[in-house]
């Protein structure tokens, strides 16, 4: 397994704000890696350092074997980027824009196919400036993937998507991951993390506070379960036994029975300390 992204001791300050306070990351080639964290946690700062946009104060960073602080054209052609904010509302149509960007890359995808995959086929002849916010965001995604990147960075890609567009986006990402593209995405949506990510890192105040598979994050799989019924609740490591005892006590059906483990959201909120 080759490593796509390797980070050791990454730090970055803006004046008196320590945006990134010592981060280590190892992202394998072919992996879908999610970065989760509250507003201002340092997600964009970290990702934009990996993308070669921002300078780091300290630390070692290697992205596809290259230091992003010294990006080359060749390296740029292998990395796809969807930034958190892109404000330009072009006079060119969706198809013209995607075609134009395809020309930048040595191994571009078919523009019409990419437009179809992001769900803009019907809008292909429209000017980008005339699209809705969520549609424009899909253009951003199309431009991020047009060059057939080996590694794709997405900074909150689905902000502003309607539920159907989000599903479609998930399918696109799953398809790209299936074809072997390494994907690094930041998001605030926990369902997105559960649907897409092989691994997730939670960042708070510039540090990684937890890292792992979404299903086991923060000891989630082995955490105590809560058994609730009309009239009581217990936290227990052996919920099955509790339910059996309750069955006996109620002599059959237990009123309003639920057995829950902490959701990813519960774990996440616990981790970021709110």
């Amino acid at each position: 397994m080759t490593t796509a992204v390797k980070v050791r001791g990454l730090t970055k300050r803006y004046g008196d704000v320590q945006a990134v306070g010592g981060i280590d990351l190892d992202i394998d080639a072919g992996e879908v890696f999610a970065i989760l964290g509250p507003n201002g946690a340092g997600k964009s700062t970290t990702v934009e350092i990996l993308e070669g946009y921002r300078r780091r104060d300290a630390g070692e960073v290697s992205v596809l074997g290259t230091d992003p602080g010294r990006p080359t054209r060749e390296w740029r052609s292998r990395v796809g980027i969807v930034l958190q904010s892109t404000g330009d509302a072009g006079e060119m149509t969706v198809r013209e824009t995607v075609r134009h960007f395809a020309g930048y890359y040595p191994r571009a995808q078919d523009p019409d196919e990419v437009i179809e995959r992001v769900g803009l086929a019907e809008k292909a002849g429209r000017r980008v400036g005339e699209l809705s916010g969520g549609q424009r965001r899909r253009v951003d995604v199309a431009l991020g993937v047009i060059g057939s990147p080996e590694l794709l960075f997405l900074d909150e890609p689905t902000t502003g998507f309607d539920p159907e567009a989000r599903r479609r986006f998930w399918e696109l990402i799953q398809g790209l991951a299936h074809e072997g593209t390494t994907i690094v995405l930041t998001t605030h949506y926990l369902d997105e993390v559960e649907a897409l990510a092989d691994r997730v890192a939670v960042i708070a105040r510039g540090r990684i506070v937890a890292e792992g598979e979404p299903s086991t994050l923060g000891g989630r799989a082995t955490a105590q379960a809560t058994v609730r019924w009309a009239g009581g609740s217990v936290e227990t490591g052996t919920p099955t036994r509790t339910v059996m005892e309750l069955t006996r006590r109620f002599d059959g059906e237990i009123p309003e029975l639920t057995v829950t483990r902490p959701s990813l959201e519960d774990v996440y909120l616990g981790l970021i300390g709110s």
Binding site: T2, T3, K6, K12, Y14, A29, T45, E48, E51, G52, Y53, R54, R55, S62, L64, G65, R73, E74, R76, S77, R78, V79, I81, L83, S85, T86, G87, D88, G90, E91, M92, E96, H100, F101, G103, Y104, Y105, P106, R107, R127, L143, G147, E150
Partner: protein, 282 residues
């Protein structure tokens, strides 16, 4: 810690198709810039009508002849305004790129393998087209309304061509370079329009070079606009007008030298100082 191997991707790269050439990308950028320019109707109409309006106003106010020559003052203005149209790239690019830097257009481009030189080339070629249309419009109006005689000698048109091309390229590159000066896109038009207006006043666009104090002429001589105007006067005023020049000559050799130097200097300035990101973007 084990060193991670990147061998597979390196070999994949060796076998990968070649990068698109900078020249091809520059032409494709120019096509996209042109398309965008002509679709932005309001901006296009104002860009093309501004020099016309100036010419009509100045040409109508000052319709007298210049004593000692067979020339009218309005003919001087045609030549001067052609110089200023050739320099519009400075203002358009200086402001436009500063705005694009703020709205994220440039940041997006910076994340692609597009070489900066191809981006500059697209801007410069677009400016060449826009300035050319402006100049053609000015010439048509000059001939139709203000007794401008188009030169018939091929050598004059040759002079026109090199003054125009060097002038547009130099001012475009200078415009791209100064776009990095304003702190933000919203301050760009104030920061860049002011020097351009001043430059027009001291470079002989509105006021004949002869009537300027020596120190102002010396400042103007540093910048390309004075030399562009001088070159265009050589083309459109001919021998009659040479006596109006402070040195009694159009000094075409110096014009070529200084405009050429601005093209090279502008390119170096762009390649060394150009920023894709705004100042407050990490």
């Amino acid at each position: 810690m084990t060193q991670t191997t990147t061998a597979p991707s390196v070999s994949a790269v060796a076998a990968s198709p070649a990068m698109p050439s900078t020249l091809r990308l520059g032409l494709s950028q120019a096509a996209a810039e042109n398309r965008t320019f002509f679709r932005r109707r309001d901006a296009m109409i104002f860009t093309f009508s501004f020099p016309i309006i100036l010419l009509v106003i100045f040409g109508s106010i000052f319709s007298s002849t210049v004593e000692g020559t067979g020339l009218t003052v309005s003919q001087l203005y045609v030549a001067g305004l052609i110089g200023s149209a050739t320099m519009t790239g400075f203002q358009n690019l200086g402001i436009g790129i500063a705005l694009n830097r703020d709205d994220g257009t440039l940041k997006r481009l910076a994340g692609t393998p597009l070489p900066p030189a191809a981006y500059f080339m697209g801007k410069a070629l677009n400016t060449l087209l826009v300035s050319f249309v402006q100049v053609v419009i000015l010439l048509v109006i000059g001939v139709a309304l203000f007794d401008l005689d188009l030169p018939s000698a091929a050598s004059d048109w040759l002079t026109f061509t090199w003054v125009f091309v060097l002038g547009v390229l130099g001012s475009s590159l200078l415009g791209i370079a100064v776009s990095s000066l304003p702190r933000s896109g919203s301050s760009a038009s104030a920061v860049i329009a002011m020097p351009f207006v001043v430059l027009q006043f001291i470079s002989g666009v509105f006021i004949p070079a002869r009537e300027l104090p020596e120190w102002l002429s010396q400042i103007a001589a540093i910048f390309p606009l004075k030399w562009m105007c001088q070159g265009f006067r050589a083309v459109f005023l001919g021998e009659d007008g040479a006596t109006l020049e402070p040195t009694n000559s159009y000094e075409l050799g110096r014009v070529a030298l200084i405009l050429g130097a601005w093209v090279i200097g502008g390119l170096v300035l762009c390649l060394t100082t150009f920023r894709w990101k705004s100042r407050n973007d990490g």
